[in-house]
């Protein structure tokens, strides 16, 4: 048995009021939506390590059980940033259309899903509003595959997290 298997401890708990407010502000700023429509009243978190925490809505209040994940995945904390979940952005896009996103060519998608950044020439379209954070959309099927942040100095979209992260980090 590896040492990780022996020592693994996951931190779980209820998200603080200030973090909940940060998530609400993020959704409001990026997508111009009323956050209360998408955010459950109670948010819990599970941290797998220092680099990856997931935030999800708690509906059932299973107080006697250690809950590690519930159905409404809301946000991720990674690379010291709080970022919306792929699921919540899919839901917002389904209601309001695509906003604050980059639509990426096949080669860029492949690199991104393995944790790499996106080169400027891989971006087919930038969908406004143009903020620091962009949902990354695969041009082949219009699926949200993660998030990237524009780095003006390096002139690339830096990978904040991608759908492959969960396989890499969680096994």
């Amino acid at each position: 048995m590896s040492s990780e298997k022996k020592t693994l401890k996951l931190k779980t708990g209820t998200v603080s009021k200030s973090t909940s407010e940060k998530i609400a502000k993020l959704l409001s700023e990026l997508y111009g939506v009323n956050p209360s429509r998408y955010l459950p009243s109670v948010l819990n978190y599970t941290c797998f390590n220092e680099n990856l925490c997931i935030i999800y809505g708690s509906k059932l209040g299973l107080v006697n059980l250690k809950v590690l994940y519930e159905n409404s995945w809301i946000a991720v904390y990674t690379k010291k940033r709080l970022v919306p979940s792929i699921n919540i952005v899919r839901s917002i896009y389904s209601d309001q259309g695509v906003k604050a996103a980059i639509i990426v060519k096949e080669q860029g998608v492949k690199a991104f899903l393995y944790g790499n950044d996106i080169l400027l020439e891989s971006v087919l379209q930038v969908v406004p509003p143009v903020k620091k954070l962009f949902a990354v959309i695969d041009s082949a099927d219009n699926e949200v595959i993660g998030f990237a942040a524009w780095n003006p100095r390096r002139r690339i979209y830096e990978n904040i997290y991608d759908a492959g992260l969960f396989l890499r980090e969680l096994g």
Binding site: Y69, E70, N71, S72, A163, L167
Partner: protein
């Protein structure tokens, strides 16, 4: 229910014959394991079983039908160089007949995007089909990690808003399970960490459907893990059997009257299956064995006797998947209904 480990050990004890010892040396097994195969199947068929365990199995791709339809996925994977064959009784799934040097089936970007789950073998599709046939509602998966059955059930229940309560005791396995749920964008799940034996005291809720995929010896998966030929001593087996009885006995309390529980192991050991269910039936008059609602394959029957043990005749309704007759992992599945 008091379960005496010494009694279990005594009841399942096997003294291998010379014939079993010779066969076990040929194939590299602990002799008692082979003796049991001879006792159940006879010498000739036991040989076929041991031969079948030497053959590689083909992994299976199960389409995440929430994100993509099976024919589109098949087309995309075939474009990458995979040769796939549809599984006739589970039409969202494909057997991987051959694959390119790169990418592997677990590293395509279709996989990373959650378009499919990779099962080591098609046997693990059967329990979810049987448990959720014509059902909508919530389901408890009491020992859920690493998640093949839980993700499949979440997918099957997605349209009807049914929720999968996926529980397991082992944190590092739960971590992988959560990874699969997130990768596959399955929203109708709740993941909890608890000993399945204690769930009834912690979960203030009952279910119409429960899956107990008990931690077992994995004796049906020897073809992909040959270490299992020698890993489990008879005492280890007795300890597992005790835990399996405790898990099944206690999870029945989480069933609604009229509700159905599937007890499954990836093991062909009668001790871990018919023996376990029989012990629980002896102590619970509120439980009955039922026929599977679907005939996906020409199933093998459950055992009603084994060596000196006589089991409840109803156990014939259990299903046995044999590697040498079905060309699948060995599985044993029993469907139990809680009486009103």
């Amino acid at each position: 229910m008091n379960i005496d480990l010494a009694e279990i050990y005594r009841e399942i004890y096997v003294e291998p014959s010379r014939e079993a010892i010779e066969l076990s040396m040929k194939y590299g097994y602990l002799p008692y394991i082979v003796q049991r195969y001879i006792d159940i199947l006879g010498h000739r068929e036991a040989n076929k079983l041991l031969e079948a365990f030497e053959k590689p199995v083909k992994s299976v791709v199960r389409t995440n039908t929430i994100l993509i339809n099976p024919s589109e996925l098949k087309e995309r994977l075939e474009y990458l160089g995979f040769k796939l064959e549809t599984i006739s009784w589970s039409n969202e799934s494909f057997r991987v007949i051959s694959q390119p040097k790169s990418p592997t089936i677990g590293s395509t970007h279709e996989y990373l995007k959650g378009y499919y789950y990779v099962h080591r073998d098609a046997s693990s599709l059967i329990p979810a089909h049987l448990l959720l046939h014509e059902f909508s509602g919530n389901v408890l998966d009491a020992c859920a990690a690493p998640g093949g059955k839980a993700t499949f059930m979440a997918q099957l229940l997605h349209r009807t808003n049914g929720v999968v309560f996926a529980n397991d005791l082992v944190l590092y396995r739960l971590k992988a399970l959560i990874g699969h749920f997130m990768r596959m964008k399955l929203n109708n799940v709740i993941v909890t960490c608890s000993d399945a034996r204690k769930l009834k005291d912690k979960l203030n809720k009952k279910f119409e459907r429960v899956l107990v995929d008990a931690p077992c010896s994995g004796e049906g998966r020897i073809s992909v893990d040959p270490g299992r030929k020698t890993r489990t001593s008879l005492l280890d087996l007795a300890i597992m059997v005790k835990r399996e009885i405790e898990i099944l006995y206690n999870t029945v309390d989480l069933l609604e009257p009229g509700g159905v529980l599937v007890y499954v192991t990836c093991s062909i050991a009668p001790e871990e299956n018919e023996y376990v269910v029989n012990k629980v039936l002896e102590h619970r008059s509120d439980l009955e064995v039922i026929e599977p609602p679907l005939k996906l394959l020409d199933y093998g029957k459950g055992l009603t006797e084994y060596r000196n043990l006589r089991f409840n005749s109803e156990l014939e309704k259990c299903i046995r998947i044999w590697p040498h007759t079905h060309q699948l992992f060995g599985y044993t599945i029993c469907l139990l209904r809680k009486k009103h």
